[in-house]
Subunit: 455 residues, 2 copies
């Protein structure tokens, strides 16, 4: 009996090793195809340099839909659009800001309106400034300390967070919730230190959310050098004034689209693996790293399957999600339609952390499914993709979890991401061709393995 | 007995875990200190932007010696210079090159003389071109196919090498040995495709070695776009001519120095851990990634020990090696003096692969010593430093192996290194502060562990 058992074990083991070996060979072919013949870098060149920044509702967003629809058609069996209504916020004229001190003089500083902010009055706002580092400090100041003033949130990134997304997570409440928190106590506006490790002159815009019951106040992000200057001047002259002028506005919702392309599975076409990035970006840069990279990587996956003649057993669908940055309407619409059409998503993967060298994949799955995925870990090691410890998917796919889908996120090196995130320097030249391609390769390998074996 | 054995095991295990835990805490302090208060980035700013490219024997190399001597004095117990004679090659006027075709016309192309090359005659050289991809092809062509011509080496980087140093290793024979190999068959000059994955207009210089018994011919590197153009034009017009003009020359050897700073060990001062980078760089850029990064990281290690008040049990010595790029005289001199003075180097670590995010440390050691080092692996994991599989040290420290030293190399992400290596774009803006600091932190942690426990 023991002998048979051992034989069976041997058979199972060699079978496992044999398939792992075959999978390794296929994954090597995938990596080679993308590194030798990848198109994602040139697609990103177009998306960044010809289309440019593409905030939801803008003509550039419409151009990005058209462009990715056309390239999707060259690699997918089926390509289609999913209409959805999106918010349409416009920045207007270039913002102006300065610090005015009777002691130190006047100094212009670089700001960007936060996405969704209301405008200042035409003449701008000028008021005294109160600097805080968190909402507790704000609360302690109360109405007496805040009323009629501009609240300046100046808590910096925690440099000791090795993954910069950790630092972002610990600081971003100031940007997102700061305006309404300050308005509670009668603030007339807010200025937030830019969400970045870098000390430079680039302000970083980003989303914020007004609370319904609280008056809306104009809010902007100031560059880190500007924030340091304002803080220093404030110590010297607590009565100085900050002036800013913005004429951004929210227009009526616009019609836009998710762009979808798919390759039908040969054995289990009803089981869907969705991969994607978000097609919209902030308007101030070109959205190259955030998230043109994730979009073109997702289309590259389909291209690699086609180029290698791999017919996936399960359906692979690439989606360019619209409006992640200031509404998430594309992701919501996708999940809504998936539910309505009773689609079975077995896995959803998003790349929205930049096209930097991949270091791992984050996974949000039940323990049995996670275990299955982790058995493939060794296949990824030769490509420097070693870390599967994080838990998480991506903003556009998270809603699919409730529909039973495993969520996966590409986890690239994070050190440079917040140098460019939501700022004017998020341009094509910040993307390295090989880093982008290696990310696409890691994603394709995982999609291939899931399409072969299911979850 | 079993009980006692288990108790002993438990004791040993908890002792081990306790020390690992303490070491993890110290290493966290090291990382935090460098990420919060690191000076290496601002030192590199000076070395790149104020000193600039610093080829051995140049005034800039002398300025770099002076600058690093001064900063070393602020962090080391003892600072001194090690004199050595270095080659002194100068590039001269900006090189000129063009392709001249009776069919397609004339086109200027970007080249750099290879370091050590002789000049062309004053009027330049103009000759027909023969394109080859390896020395076998050259041999097959023989004298009949090569005599009087310019040999154009055009084997590109293998894009499928995940670590770009692998691609470099497979291509660099064309640059290093190409001139003499071609001259064997009567070539009048050589042009080599730049050693890079990038397709752009930047030629990459680098070292070459003439063989003694073979006539010297002028040799240059052409940008990858230039190489692609030359190859395309050649297919159309095999009789086209390549013209190039260079007036580089080798002057008499100059006196230069390694810069050395050390912190004496408290318990085993005679056991030395040496860390370093090379202070010289090519002249065409600012030597920021190659290897200003490795130099400032090495000094940062001493700074971190001082700032944290850690008194190392073994002696830690940082060395700015001179002349790695075109002679290696500094490294040789260091090893020669170490032997002469009967110094005991237990470990030598070099950072000469760029200041990118660290991914691991390469180790060249006997299996028992390697095993000891690998026991510390988990301490590095939270910092994304996971790969200890490579074998190797660095050009300036390899000679210490014969003296019994373990060799260690910082192994950073390699994707962008050859975009900048030996070219005019190797400037300070290509270095990310956090990536540089994380590399320094990983090195400091390893130095700390070796200084505590020996090898």
């Amino acid at each position: 009996m023991k002998k048979y058992f051992l034989s069976a074990c041997y058979f199972l083991l060699t079978g496992f090793l044999f398939s792992q070996n075959n999978d390794s060979i296929t994954c090597r072919k995938i990596a080679n195809e993308i590194l030798n013949n990848g198109k994602c870098y040139s697609w990103l060149d177009y998306l960044s340099n010809k289309v440019g920044g593409r905030l939801a509702g803008s003509p550039q967003a419409a151009a990005a839909v058209e462009y990715t629809y056309q390239i999707m058609k060259t690699v997918a069996d089926t390509t289609y659009l999913q209409p959805c209504m999106v918010p349409h916020w416009v920045r207007g004229d270039k913002e102006v800001a300065k610090i005015i001190s009777s002691k130190t003089g006047e100094q212009k500083v670089p700001i960007f309106a936060l996405g969704g902010s209301i405008a200042t009055p035409d003449a701008g706002i000028s008021a005294e400034v109160v600097e805080v580092h968190n909402f507790d400090e704000l609360k302690k100041l109360g109405k007496a300390g805040v009323q009629g003033k501009i609240v300046f949130y100046n808590r910096p990134f925690d440099e000791t967070e090795i993954n910069t997304f950790g630092a972002y997570g610990k600081a971003v409440d100031q940007r997102w919730a700061g305006p309404s928190e300050a308005a509670k106590y009668g603030a007339v506006g807010t200025v937030v230190r830019s969400m970045t490790n870098a000390i430079d002159d680039n302000p970083h815009t980003g989303g914020m959310g007004y609370k319904d019951s609280i008056p809306k106040v104009p809010c902007c992000a100031i560059s880190t050098k500007g924030a340091n200057l304002l803080s220093t001047w404030l110590k010297n002259d607590p009565k100085l004034k900050f002036y800013f002028k913005m004429n951004c506005q929210t227009l009526p919702d616009e019609k836009s689209y998710n762009v979808v392309g798919e390759i039908k599975g040969t054995e289990h076409p009803e089981e869907i693996i969705v991969i994607g990035g978000h097609l919209d970006s902030w308007d101030v840069g070109h959205g190259a790293q955030d998230d043109g990279a994730g979009c073109v990587q997702s289309i590259e996956i389909l291209r690699a399957f086609k180029a290698l003649g791999i017919k996936p057993k399960r359906t692979i669908r690439a989606v360019m999600f619209m409006n992640e940055e200031n509404g998430g309407r594309g992701g919501s619409k996708y999940a809504e339609l998936a539910k309505l059409n009773k689609e079975k998503h077995i896995a959803a993967m998003e790349s929205d952390a930049g096209g930097f060298t991949p270091r791992g994949l984050s996974i949000d799955a039940t323990s049995d499914k996670k275990e299955k995925i982790l058995k493939w870990k060794n296949i990824f090691m030769p490509y420097g993709v070693y870390d599967f410890s994080a838990n998480g998917g991506g903003a556009d796919i998270d809603a699919l979890k409730d529909q039973g889908s495993v969520l996966i996120g590409l986890y690239p090196d994070s050190q440079r991401y917040f140098d460019y995130h939501h700022t004017a320097t998020d341009t094509f030249d910040k993307v390295n061709k090989r880093e982008l391609e290696l990310g696409a390769a890691a994603m394709t390998m995982m999609v291939y393995l899931i399409s072969e074996y299911g979850l």
